[in-house]
Chain length 152, copies 4
């Protein structure tokens, strides 16, 4: 567990519910594997429909799950009636996405009233061995009074 | 047309062939609409399977076609026997991806022997009106002696 | 002139006054040469005290005037009773800062209620010829109700 | 000490010598306080000549020592006959540089034959208490066969 105290005790259910509404995560086949205060993990198995021209995970796919991992890490610390927006991020792709599985680990680095900064690492697993393949530094915005979920 | 002179007269066919081998582009439904020296355009129609939790294009999808637009813009200027690798990029998401279509326009800003810098803009079209929704500043690496296409 | 309409007709005096209060600009020897709505230019002559180990402008110096050029470009469009804060930027250094003068040109790319995105280019002039040496993509925050200048 | 093995046993003297040749470090008043394999620390006391318009450290100054801390962290792992170039970095400024001293800590995150990725944190100390004020994610290039020091 991380050092952060969530404002909303229902942060995990709220995060899992939001993730489940992201159509792209189902299209890619991504799974939400850890939800803790200020930390979210997403894993994604390889298939050719996620590849770039050399048969590795496309960098955009790596970025997509990295972006969601960081965004939801920030979201876990928000009040119940707020949603999250990615302002910007920078990603370094330090190794090809050559493997059977990606794992993105998003962590909150600094929280603020409006902006949250996250540090995200993405690992690629090949034949049982994992290595870092990408690193993101990301800025998220908290939008208060705008519930993330549609009114039921 | 842009001001750049391609090293390889077959740059367009080479670029279209590489794009066609990116499985993720088919999974998303992206189409390569312009290939000029130092400039590439990709368009992508909306569907719920590309959305984030509010039903807009997921930022990762925006980034994915932006990354490919910039990467292939660099690729058009490479010699025939070279491939391209995204070193890193930074993306600012300045408006929600709320619309029926994304259009990514990648342009080479500066070429170097090893590194190429691209400037990419992504627009979202809603009800016939387009507006900028993202901007990328991207660093690409040219890998010489490594043909992009598999040996036939 | 740019296409932007300033909210404060006194934007130029307000910007020049703020620049004059930046001690670092005097330490470096930087000069504010253009102030237009959404556009600011800063120039800086070389001297060895601004160099890195090879005798060229240090990248941090390039970044410093680039950051101020973008920050003040955003500032020109703010209301009178607001100040500006750099949230983050990314800089690509595409050529060594080898020359007699740097010129940073900051332009607003997109304004928002809270955040402004700027695109900044920095050029180095050597023997009368200028070429691009850096490019920044920058996010600024507008802080309302906090005048930039100290109460007099 | 970090986990990295330097290629050049004389890495510390080589790094200190290069730092001493950066005129801007003397202009700012920065001091090199730690040099270990893959890790470099730089500290900088405040004075008004380093300030932005509110009397805090200018973000460009924060970036300058952050950039050098990361660049020299990479440099410690290079062979003796190589120099270092900053390709690009992204910096998040998460708190005002309000204090008496800045401390930049640069660490190598990933080494490669050509490119090295560094993670840099900058802290500001005020009245004996330190807090993070900036974070950089940086790409450096190793230039082989080009000694950093001038021929003697």
């Amino acid at each position: 567990m991380t050092e952060f105290q969530p404002l909303d005790p229902g942060y995990e259910a709220r995060t899992r519910d939001s993730f489940a509404r992201q159509g792209i995560m189902q299209t890619l086949g991504a799974e939400l594997t850890r939800v803790e205060p200020g930390l979210v993990e997403i894993v994604l198995p390889f298939r050719p429909g996620l590849a770039q021209q050399h048969g590795f995970f496309h960098a955009g796919v790596t970025a997509t799950i990295g972006d969601s991992a960081g965004g939801y890490a920030a979201f876990t610390l928000f009040p119940a009636e707020a949603t999250v927006l990615t302002v910007e991020y920078k990603i370094n792709l330090m190794a090809p996405g050559d493997g059977q599985r990606l794992r993105a680990l998003g962590r909150v680095f600094k929280t603020g009233r409006t902006l949250t900064i996250c540090d995200v690492e993405v690992f690629v697993e090949k034949d049982g061995r994992e290595r870092p393949c990408a690193k993101l530094l990301q800025t998220l915005m908290r939008l208060d009074g705008r519930p993330d979920a549609p009114a039921g």
